[in-house]
């Protein structure tokens, strides 16, 4: 099956803990992305990688750090979570086809910070 896979589906944690989310795509794409979707469904790009290289790094707190071992994997680590980090984190991938490339999304990881 070719798709974008994310683990875990859900994660509940306490303020100050470290969390890590995994994303893998089996579509053979060169580019991967992390988005944050808040409780009002607002979607914002956080990072994008092309062939393991950081391309876009939007203004996100420094406690967020993406990690890419190869072009098929892009993980997201949050060092010390805050309540405002509660959201759904969506991973996506696309061909390096420029502006017209369709992005394929995973189902998301829902983070709840208590």
């Amino acid at each position: 099956e070719t798709a974008v896979f994310q683990t875990p589906n859900y994660h509940v944690t306490q303020v100050g803990n470290e969390v890590s989310f995994n994303c893998k795509q089996t579509l053979g794409h060169d580019t991967m992305y992390w988005y944050k979707q808040d409780s009002k469904k607002l979607l914002k790009i956080m990072f994008s990688y092309n062939n393991k290289q950081l391309i876009v790094n939007e203004t996100v707190p420094r406690r967020f750090s993406p990690q890419s071992s190869d072009k098929a994997h892009l993980n997201l680590r949050i060092k010390s979570v805050e309540p405002e980090d509660s959201a759904v984190y969506l991973c996506a991938s696309s061909d390096w086809g420029g502006a017209y490339a369709e992005q394929f999304f995973g189902p998301g990881t829902r983070l709840t910070v208590l």
Binding site: L42, I45, A92, A99, G106, P107
Partner: protein, 113 residues
């Protein structure tokens, strides 16, 4: 900076009725425009995209969108909705490099049986 405005947070329609979702964009250059749909507890899926050519572009599942440069709009339409079209619909614009997709806030569509 690019931006997208979706003025309708929620739209409720009856099954079989037509649907139009509004989208206005702001971008200094020629825009690359998309509509995505998000079904409950799923990721986003692309419905259609537009860059140039015929301003009416066809997408999946009977959706189409019309681009208007003069109005800076990219409205989505469907002639006859089905209950399975209940979802959140996002309009998006990207920069010319294609590495920064900016989404609107989404329109939640509820199709009543």
């Amino acid at each position: 900076a690019q931006s997208v405005t979706q003025p309708d947070a929620r739209v409720t329609v009856s099954e079989g009725a037509s649907l139009q979702l509004r989208c206005k964009y702001s971008y200094s250059a020629t825009p690359y425009l998309f509509w995505y749909v998000q079904y409950p507890r799923q990721g986003l899926q692309m419905l259609l995209k537009y860059y140039s050519g015929d301003p009416v572009v066809q997408g999946v599942n009977g959706f189409e969108a019309e681009f208007s440069k003069s109005d800076s709009s990219f409205h989505l339409r469907k002639a006859s909705v089905h209950w399975s079209d209940s979802a959140v619909y996002f309009c998006a614009v990207t920069n010319s490099a294609g590495n920064k997709l900016t989404f609107g806030i989404g329109t939640r569509v509820l199709v009543r049986p």
